[in-house]
């Protein structure tokens, strides 16, 4: 399960830390992994100082598997992999990335929660692609929603690119390249038109696209909500992604603005623990229950 925040400062890491605690409290074994490569700080949100192992140990081949660097958090059912900060980790080599992905799938738990970095770089997008569920964390302001849309578009195009490479048909890849430039090729602005164009080249490829798009159903988490009006930004992004990218956000979840989160952060403690009766804690628990009911397992 990937927690993605296309824009910095939207509360992605706060939600990752507290969501992991909430899932573990619901009786599921969870490992939360700090994959904000080059800017990791999830340990501070969990109040974990002096981590014995970090992702650096795995990247530098000091340990054999990712399981070896899972740290205890003090919370029952919850493990933690501390992020790395060695120079260059933000631009992880492809082979290292694939090794990391393989090891993530081998972790011994019900849920692996990936706290990914901001932006739409391929490292972030690729980890989101391998996850069975993506939680897109955003705030209701225009810049955040724009970044969320751009992230989703990048994710879909990246996924299609992988698929088209399997067909070994240069025409399909050229079409995808054209669709990236919507000013020059406005007829390829909408996914339905891209699919029609693909169908003319290869019928099987268009069928594959439809299957892939049907599988991509990220959940949107609107953080720091203050009014019903804010919730409408969720509807707007749902409409746009459906119309132009051809995917449906499976669910719009909301987390209300809550001053207790800031107070907890100032004390370097998760808000779920510091104020379990807070509005924030209740909203996070709702999200955790939703994810468990979805039965998203690795």
């Amino acid at each position: 399960m990937a927690v993605v925040g296309p824009k910095g400062g939207v509360g992605k890491t706060t939600i990752s830390a507290n969501l992991a605690i909430s899932i573990s409290r619901l009786g599921k074994k969870v490992v939360v992994v700090d994959l904000d490569l080059g800017a990791s700080n999830l340990n501070s949100y969990l109040g974990i100082r002096n981590s014995k192992y970090t992702l650096d140990d795995f990247i530098l081949n000091k340990v054999n598997s990712l399981q070896d660097i899972v740290l205890e958090t003090g919370f029952e059912n919850m493990g933690f992999i501390c992020g790395g900060n060695i120079p260059g980790i933000a631009n992880l080599h492809y082979s290292k990335k694939m090794k990391l992905i393989r090891n993530l799938s081998l972790l011994e738990c019900d849920y692996v929660l990936l706290d990914l970095g901001a932006g739409a770089s391929f490292n972030v997008v690729d980890f989101a692609i391998i996850a069975k569920e993506s939680l897109l964390v955003t705030t209701p302001e225009v810049p955040s929603i724009i970044n969320t849309y751009v992230f989703l578009k990048t994710l879909v195009f990246r996924r299609l690119e992988f698929a088209f490479k399997q067909f070994k048909n240069q025409q399909l890849l050229d079409l995808l390249a054209q669709a990236k430039d919507i000013e020059k090729n406005p007829h390829l602005k909408k996914m339905e038109n891209i699919i029609k164009a693909v169908e003319l080249i290869d019928g099987k490829a268009s069928e594959l696209i439809l299957k892939l798009l049907a599988r991509l159903k990220p959940a949107l988490v609107l953080n720091r909500i203050r009014s019903d009006r804010d919730l409408k930004s969720g509807t707007a992004i749902q409409n746009l992604t459906k119309e132009y990218i051809g995917i449906e956000c499976s669910k719009v979840l909301s987390v209300q603005e809550d001053a207790s989160v800031g107070y907890a952060m100032a004390r370097m403690k998760p808000a779920m623990l510091e104020n379990p009766g807070s509005i924030f804690a209740k909203d996070i628990t709702k999200i955790a229950k939703f994810l468990i009911q979805q039965q998203v397992y690795f």
Partner: protein, 138 residues
């Protein structure tokens, strides 16, 4: 008349201080001191922020304000007063109001109002169209 913030406070001093601080922050507001003026003040224009001060309120007035908060959809509500009174506001509505229990701190209330106003500049009806323009989808 259009205003960004609506303030109800029975307490002349608290209401007056809050009015002054909000005005210093260049926030337009309507201050009412009688409970019967609250409904009229909100019926003509639903402001972005509604500040309700429970200080010196009677029980029936608190009940009235609880019902009012539950019915407000597009305004962000900030509640002031002592902690015991504010506990009555544990509504089941989706969006909970902000609580600023006593001691009364007008600067913090003004800062929160400013933040809410700054972060919600878009009109909900045009939001999707705005996005399309930013994303060059139109």
């Amino acid at each position: 008349m259009s205003y960004q913030v609506f303030v109800f406070s029975r307490d002349r001093i608290r209401g007056g201080i809050l009015k002054r601080i909000l005005q210093d922050n260049k926030i337009s507001l309507l201050l009412v001191q009688k409970i019967i003026d609250v409904k009229d003040g909100l019926s003509s224009h639903e402001p972005r922020v509604v500040i309700l001060d429970m200080h010196s309120c009677f029980k029936k007035e608190v009940t009235f304000l609880i019902n009012l908060v539950c019915s407000m959809k597009d305004s962000v509500v900030i509640l002031l007063g002592d902690s015991a009174t504010l506990e009555n506001f544990s509504t089941d509505t989706l969006l909970k109001p902000f609580f600023f229990p006593d001691p009364f701190d007008p600067e913090i209330i003004a800062a929160k109002s400013r933040e809410i106003l700054a972060l919600n500049i878009h009109d909900a009806g045009n939001f999707e169209n705005d996005l399309k323009q930013y994303l060059k989808l139109e």
